[in-house]
Amino acid sequence: RRASAPSGKLRVQLDWVPEPEFGGLYEARASGAFAREGLEVELVGGGPSTPVVQLVASGGADLGVVAGEELVVARARGVDLVAIYATYQSSPQGIMVHASRGLRRLEELEGGSLALDTGAPFGAFVQAKFPLSKVTIVSTDGGVAKFLSDQRHAQQCFVTSEPVAAKQAGSDPQVFTAKSLGFDSYANVVVARGEALRGGGDRARAMVRALQAGWRGYLSSPARANAQMASLNRAMDAATFAQVAEAQRPLVESDDTRALGLGAMRAGRWKALIDQLVAVKIIGADAAPKPEACFVFAT
């Protein structure tokens, strides 16, 4: 009743169309890193509404790429997914305002409108932590057109995306990153079904090694993978690919990765995220997952 990859082949469900945030995956495929680990991998592009969590949980894919907070929510709802690799060490999300407003802290935001990704934990976090006065919360459409035409409009963004577009269009975006706002989460997390990892999870371990190799390769030379992704996602031009690849570098590399290797995770950081989600009531305290259960391979 469900589509599933043929045995042996691993299907990885992405949560977006091929873009630099998946650079390591495509590089691992292109460089043969997957093959060297004995893995046959199929990368499946997604769209803005692709239900990655549900697909992986129900067996429609073997692995998926989701945000850290999505994983926590899924576990809180009784879905047994486990992170094996955290591509971004911190959330790429942020709040983008016009620099002309001269804000030093987000708390100073007053009046105008703020577009948040409806229902997403980050938005709920911002709303809960910053009781912004007289700011109208609206739903974001994912674009920057309203930002360009309205000086008093602020919006949620991906630091690698909207601010770049806004700047190109001649605007003056100023970004408060999620991290700087206190929202501490891994992102671009590769997850698998918990049951698939029981019994050693040798293939998953091999997967992590291949991912690390892929990302090392991509960080040093993104051109080959970019070209491949650009051939799939022809709506994004080569210059933008290069630009974004560079912009995401600080997200991929952190003190932790330098100490523990790319993709590394620590229980303490998962705990912080879980506590935050409980605090903003996205998950109940009784349903909160254990931090250690959220991931494997601290490497």
Binding site: S58, P121, V138, S139, G142
Partner: protein, 262 residues
């Protein structure tokens, strides 16, 4: 039972039974095949529970979306019929414009969301506009077809007695097209609801007075599938309500003379 009472029962009982059967089937499927995957398809009992727990939220969301959908729907009815009248007034005009009216329907709302927001602002007006844009085309198409199908002999009759264009319209074409307009409105009912929901997602308020679109999206993002389906049930109920109003109106209006009236 009185004749009137039994007639009302005959009218309301079948849909009630239909609902029960559908729900039972749904519950069975959910329990049998999605027992461990309630995040995909929760059983109606779980949905009902979630709906009860979040009844305040769902009620206000349904009201908010319902208002926008109803307004968009009314606009579709009025302007759709008007546009069809304009097109019907000349074969040339119809050929020149009608095909492009369809563009309205194929444009993803997200593509014109910025325009909507710039013109109408974030909030209810844009949501209503979205409901209108999504639901107007069936009204145009059905009305136009209804007007075109007027018996040529009746047109002759009007011509003979020197009827003006306006009289032909109001005394011949529109009365004859009413059953068709009703069909168009039936289709538009559901579309207005989905149009409002989509509109909320791109141009709606997220915080105060969130509509069903916001609830759907929130529940979806937070994997609260039972609440998600509860919200979907509310949007379906809105569609069914608009649909029923149209059906009832059409029936009251047409039953005296139209054999196809229900």
């Amino acid at each position: 039972m009185s004749a009137k009472g039994s007639r009302l029962a005959g009218l309301l009982l079948p849909p009630a039974i239909g609902l029960l059967v559908l729900l039972a089937a749904f519950e069975l499927v959910a329990r049998l095949f999605f027992a461990r995957e309630a995040y995909l398809l929760p059983p109606p009992s779980a949905i009902a529970k979630a709906a009860w727990q979040e009844r305040a939220l769902l009620a206000s969301a349904t009201l908010s979306t319902g208002r926008a959908a109803a307004l968009g729907f009314v606009a579709s009815g009025a302007l759709g019929v008007l546009f069809a009248i304009v097109l019907a007034s000349s074969r040339l005009l119809e050929r020149a414009l009608y095909p492009y009216a369809i563009a309205l329907q194929t444009v993803p709302i997200v593509a014109i969301a910025p325009l909507l927001v710039v013109w109408l602002g974030v909030g209810p007006k844009s949501v209503v506009a979205s409901a209108f844009i999504v639901s107007v085309f069936p009204v145009v198409t059905n009305t136009l077809a209804g007007i075109r199908a007027v018996d040529p002999a009746l047109r002759d009759l009007f011509r003979l007695y020197g009827a003006r264009r306006f009289a032909v319209l109001t005394k011949l074409e529109l009365p004859h097209a009413t059953p068709s307009v009703a069909v168009g409105l039936r289709v538009a009912a559901g579309l207005a609801v989905i149009g409002a929901i989509v509109g909320e997602l791109v141009a709606g308020f997220a915080e105060h007075d969130p509509g069903l679109g916001i609830v759907v999206m929130t529940a979806y993002r937070q994997l609260r599938t039972d609440l998600l389906f509860a919200a979907v049930a509310c949007s379906a109920a809105l569609g069914i309500a608009l649909f029923s109003i149209v059906s009832l109106g059409a029936w009251l209006w047409l039953r005296r003379w139209y054999s196809g009236a229900r």
